[in-house]
């Protein structure tokens, strides 16, 4: 199996597109980083952070005085005030400029790009063998078709993880170089208490939750690519679903069945911000649904690949 993965890895890196993907992932981190740094240096003002906080407290108090405020908005501003007062009382400055953390939580949005590129690889890793006819060479070897397909699937995931690591490492480096280490402390209110925000934990949690969409998109693209042997169809369909998935779920939301569609669950970052498309979701339930769909996708991929008569 290691040999087979080595083979797939070698073929992958002999394609120029693969290098372009890595370059783009890096570029989409460095580019915004430089832009953020550029605008940041322009807007710096000559006031101490204490003055800024005091100003903010006054502003918020003004807003609360007005009548047309919902209860929700009111608590929001009250919390803001509480945090600012806590800062002044305990001498805890906020993070004014960018920092490694804030930059990394920004670039974690760029993981969509990692998913997109991995989807492209997943969609074409099987279908390209068919379109070039090399599948005949590949399947007349003393290696079962199941092993061939497994090596391709694993290679796709390894490539995805590699791009993820590139994103994290490059973000950290660029963040450190451009913005330096943290100078302030992020605060938030938990159960009426002002506490330090666990920025790194939140970031790690976000990375983990992004994995849901990542895994499901790849498995779906892999399925379409190996069943229909067309990479463009696989990429197109996967992209279409990821763009319109929210809408589809919205349309179906009045029916009960919506709970049993993977699209409702694949964006696990819902659990982070609490904005659910469909209410009443729990993490174990979502994970179970996703796992069931993952197995279905895999079973169909393997069945069709192993049974198929190769006529390419």
């Amino acid at each position: 199996m290691l040999n087979l993965i080595q083979n797939e890895w070698m073929k992958l890196w002999h394609k120029k597109g693969t290098w372009a993907m890595v370059a783009l992932v890096i570029l989409f981190i460095i580019g915004p980083g430089i832009m953020m740094k550029y605008y940041e240096t322009k807007t710096t003002e000559d006031t101490t952070w204490q003055e800024t906080e005091k100003q903010a407290i006054n502003d918020y108090k003004e807003i609360i005085k007005s009548d047309d405020l919902t209860a929700e908005d009111k608590t929001f501003y009250e919390e803001k005030i509480a945090i600012s007062e806590y800062r002044l009382a305990n001498d805890v400055p906020s993070q004014e400029d960018g920092s490694v953390e804030s930059f990394m939580s920004f670039t974690s949005k760029m993981l969509t790009l990692v998913t997109l590129f991995t989807v492209i690889v997943a969609a074409s890793i099987v279908s390209s063998e068919f379109s070039t006819g090399t599948i005949k060479m590949l399947l007349t070897r003393p290696v079962s078709r199941a092993k061939v397909l497994t090596s391709k699937l694993l290679t796709t995931f390894i490539f995805g993880l590699f791009l993820f690591v590139v994103n994290v490492v490059v973000s950290a480096l660029v963040g450190l170089i451009l913005f330096g280490a943290t100078t302030g402390v992020e605060l938030e209110i938990v159960n009426g208490q002002v506490v330090e925000k666990a920025v790194w934990n939140d970031l790690a949690y976000h990375y983990l939750l992004s994995g849901g969409d990542f895994v499901m998109s790849i498995l779906f693209a892999f399925l379409v690519g190996s069943v229909f042997r067309s990479s463009s169809l696989a990429i197109g369909l996967t992209m279409f679903l990821s763009f319109t998935g929210g809408m589809i779920v919205m349309f179906l939301s009045r029916y009960d069945i919506v709970k049993y569609i993977w699209l409702t669950h694949s964006d696990l970052t819902q659990f982070e911000n609490g904005h659910f498309i469909v209410s009443g979701m729990t993490m174990p339930f979502s994970l179970t649904i996703l796992a069931i769909y993952a197995v279905i996708f895999l079973v169909i991929s393997y069945m069709s690949f192993m049974k198929r008569d190769v006529t390419a």
Partner: protein, 307 residues
């Protein structure tokens, strides 16, 4: 034939979409023998070859390679087979060497030395580290042969192997196949449209038409001997042949006569005795092409026999 067959097709049938492409095919292939596989377009050659290599699954029947069923013992059975199916499609974005390395990794016990050795055998040493996309068709064929030989197969399946080779290349290729068949006892199965090629290369031909095996015979074994005789006056010669009770048919300016070799001098002396002028007496062999056309009835594309 006393030796055990290395490959056996046992009652192979293949039906796709209600159309029976292959019907109950039985072929045995023996070590050291080169078997040609002929048939008009659409007869089922490629389908048969794909079933022998595991690319397609037979609807019925079994392929046995060196005693192992391709269905049940796929990995072990196929490890004894080297394959070139149609044009060898390689990974064009990699060098020839990387391609071979890729396939070598899929077999057990293929060392780097073995790769070098095969590269030398097919005469690609000079260009092996260049990208396959820069190769000519002939060079790709050589690379295709190299990948099929890497693991020292006992059985070699070649579909249109000489397509794109120059005359010298074809000759070299033929010699090479003969050599490995004779020296290593490799059984070779070649399908080709070039009848003259098959004739030069093979010991045996199997002919398939409409998915059925219509003939399998050894080449170069004369069942009965024919001689071409040219003489003037023509009609007098015919009369004489008739009188002597020989079977003959007119061809070109003379006759093709069914006659044993030892009877030739007698016939000649009789011609001379009658005062008929003899211009030529030569052995007459039907070419494979004649035989092929005779067997397949002109070689039209098979009517689809869907039910």
């Amino acid at each position: 034939m006393t030796t055990q067959p290395i490959v056996q097709l046992q009652n192979i049938s293949k039906t796709i979409g209600g159309k029976q492409l292959i019907q109950q095919l039985n072929i045995d292939l023996f070590p050291g023998q080169i078997t040609g596989f002929l048939g008009p377009n659409g007869a089922g050659k490629t389908t048969t070859i794909r079933m022998m290599t595991g690319l397609m699954h037979p609807t019925e029947g079994n392929v046995i390679i060196d005693g192992l069923s391709l269905k049940e013992n796929y990995e072990e059975a196929i490890s004894k087979v080297g394959v070139i199916v149609e044009n060898p499609e390689m990974y064009k974005f990699m060098t020839g060497y990387k391609n071979l390395l890729h396939f070598a990794r899929m077999h057990k016990n293929v060392t780097k030395e073995r790769i070098e050795e095969v590269v030398k055998q097919v005469g690609l040493e000079k260009r092996i580290h260049e990208k396959v996309s820069t190769y000519s068709l002939g060079m790709r064929q050589r690379l295709g042969l190299a990948q099929a030989l890497l693991h020292r197969p006992k059985f070699l399946i070649l579909d249109e192997p000489t397509n794109g080779l120059d005359p010298a290349g074809i000759r070299e290729f033929r010699m090479y196949l003969r050599k490995i068949a004779a020296e290593d006892g490799v059984s070779v199965f070649v399908s080709s449209h070039l009848l003259s090629e098959i004739e030069l290369m093979c010991d045996r031909v199997a002919v398939i038409q409409n998915g059925k095996l219509i003939d399998i015979r050894d080449i170069n074994v004369e069942t009965s001997s024919f001689y071409y005789i040219e003489a003037t006056p023509n009609n007098q010669a015919a009369e004489l042949l008739q009188k002597l009770d020989y079977n003959f048919v007119p061809e070109n300016n003379g006759y093709v006569v069914e006659i044993k070799k030892e009877d030739i001098p007698k016939l000649i002396s009789q011609f001379v005795h009658e005062g008929i002028q003899l211009f030529a007496v030569q052995p007459h062999q039907k070419t494979l092409e004649d035989q092929f056309l005779e067997m397949t009835g002109g070689g039209q594309i098979a009517e689809s026999n869907s039910k």
